[in-house]
Amino acid sequence: MRPSHYIILYNIRISDQRGKKYTMLEVKDLHVTVGGRRILQGINLTINAGETVVLFGPNGSGKTSLLMTIMGMPEYTLTKGKILFKGQDITEAPSYERARLGIGMSFQRPPTIHGLKTRRLVALCARNKAVDIDSLAETVNFRDQLDRDINAGFSGGEIKRSELLQIMAQQPDLLLFDEPESGVDLDNMALVGQSIQSLLDRDRSTTAGLIITHTGYILDYIKADQGYILFDGTLRCRENPRLILEHIRSKGYSECVRCLQEAKVS
């Protein structure tokens, strides 16, 4: 592990030299419980600016919990470890502060808020930034849904596009996507994939992504640098994400689990 002063020095450097790669996110020995149940048990993860990291893993392995914890959702109790964002310790920061610092998350199952129009929420996400909501919505084929109550009766694919639209308005530096492709029909898949990539490309030097994928379809559209399998609450098998995907596709998650369990025993 780097000594802590290293981060501080590094931070000063990046403020002086824009365009140079720096550490966007550093998760150190993260232990998390939900409702008393241990979910994450010693996660270590570093994501540099310009990098996109992909998380694989069987259902219930804790992928969503990791994203939720980075976002600062209160249900996820951190029992040990630290989260640093651009060198700043945000372990104790509430979610809205993290959002304002530049972390944005696309949720799997966001709640319906009656009476809150999607258009209004997108405007709130933009905060002080000037955004053209209609043309932004056009890019994810969501213009016709702008005047619907947020998430009210949305299909799985509509939820994904609505979440993406909110993030596009928010323009965060660290993008957290929880299965952005699930439920999205084939017509909209390319749209969603390309929109995510263009968000990541917005400014390569100040943007990074952490993406959960179960099926891996999203890899057809985005440039991913690093892949992991989340298993038993820890990150395993750091590899080229395409290799991991190929492996899972040909052998299935069950083989993957068997191999990981074997590795644990030995």
Partner: protein
């Protein structure tokens, strides 16, 4: 509350002089009127009526086919309006109707002529300025066959803490194929007692859309307007948005009687208490088939306060379709957390959700009134955070 209360208020002796130009009104009073949806700049309206304390002071129609008069003048002009005056409302209903029957100060008489479709809303204001004023008005609205009109009526006091009592009788006649949108905004004071008594009738193919908005304190408000859908295919919708702060006692409901085939009724209410007591009622009675009615009543308790929701359905014919849904609850934590993850702090998230809760789709509300409502909801948020 009984009639003995009447002695606390002056029901005569405060007949003000006529006003020729609304611009001459006290700017503070103009602001209070604006908060009740009444704009003294008349450009966006087809007619304006103003009743101050015990008498009508201003009455101006800018539209052909739209008649607006002080009810007293209308009674004189039309020989006592035998077909309309006290024809639906019963003077013997209670102490307040008896008081109104005995004490007529004025009110508005609005008539849209046959087939006339009036695009700009008519605005009317019943304003209480003197302390301990007792106001008693009688309003009559007639929408002739195939006519269309939107009336915005704002009730307000000149100072938020003034004592007063308001009794308002309203009778609505929506004739064949006619359409009435009636938006009532209340902006009373903490020590004001309010007793509206309204009855309406809708004939064949007529439509009555009623919006009621009350976001500011009142001491005590009780009303239960009744609407009869008497003609085949008549429709109505009642939207109510109400907030009861600490000290407010509100007992409000709507009663709709489906007396003809193919009639449809909808009652939608959103209530918030921030410390006050609310009874939110609703009754749809179906006497003819086919007909349909739906009642939706949602309440939110923010802090202290009581919401007692009483939705009632009464089917009196085979084949009737009546339904209701009622809920009294709190803001879901999950919704707050979702918005906080988008960068809103807890207070911003809460007020955004409250605003959404109150955002029933009020039909045809002018932009300016919407903005007024927005600022009132904002104010509500500040009051809540101050408390």
């Amino acid at each position: 509350m009984s009639g003995t209360q009447f002695t606390r208020f002056f029901f005569d002796g405060l007949t003000p002089e006529k006003i020729t130009d609304l611009a001459n009104l006290d700017p503070k009073d103009r602001d209070r009127m604006l908060m009740a949806g009444v704009d003294t700049d008349e450009a966006g309206h087809s007619a304006t009526f103003l009743h101050l304390d015990h008498g009508g002071v201003y009455c101006n129609s800018m539209q052909d086919g739209l008649e607006i008069l002080d009810t007293k003048d209308a009674l004189e002009k039309y020989n006592g309006l035998p077909d309309y005056f006290w024809k639906l409302a019963d003077p013997d209903q209670d102490d307040f109707t008896r008081k109104a029957f005995a004490t007529l100060q004025g009110g508005y008489f609005v008539r849209a002529d046959r087939g006339v479709k009036i695009r700009k809303p008519v605005q009317s204001c019943l304003f209480m300025k003197a302390d301990h004023v007792g106001q008693s008005v009688h309003n009559i609205v007639i929408v002739e066959e195939n006519a269309e009109v939107h009336i915005i009526t704002g009730c307000a006091t000149s100072r938020p803490v003034q004592h007063g009592m308001h009794i308002g009788i309203s009778e609505f006649y929506v004739k064949k194929g006619a359409r009435l949108t009636f938006t009532m905004v209340h902006n009373w004071g903490e020590n004001v007692v309010v007793r509206p008594r309204s009855v309406g009738v809708v004939e064949e193919g007529g439509v009555f859309l009623n919006n009621y908005i009350m976001l500011n304190p009142v001491q005590s408000l009780q009303m239960y307007p009744t609407l009869y859908l008497n003609g085949r295919g008549a429709r109505c919708r009642f939207n109510s948005v109400m907030v009861a702060p600490q000290g407010s006692y509100i007992d409000v409901g709507n009663r709709i009687i489906l007396n003809a085939p193919d009639t449809r009724a909808e009652i939608i209410s959103r209530s918030i208490t921030t410390g006050g007591t609310m009874f939110v009622r609703g009754l749809i009675q179906g006497n003819a088939v086919p007909s349909r009615g739906h009642l939706e009543c949602k309440g939110l308790i923010l802090g202290k306060g009581i919401i007692h929701a009483i939705p009632e359905l009464e089917g009196r014919a085979e084949g009737i379709e009546l339904s209701h849904e009622a809920a009294v609850g709190k803001i879901a934590q999950e919704e707050i957390e979702y918005l906080m993850a988008r960068g809103l702090d807890e207070e911003e998230a809460t007020s955004t959700i409250v605003r959404g809760f109150l955002n029933v789709d009020i039909i045809g509300l002018p932009e300016q009134l919407k903005n007024t409502l927005d600022s009132m909801i904002d104010q509500l948020r500040h009051e809540k955070s101050a408390a």
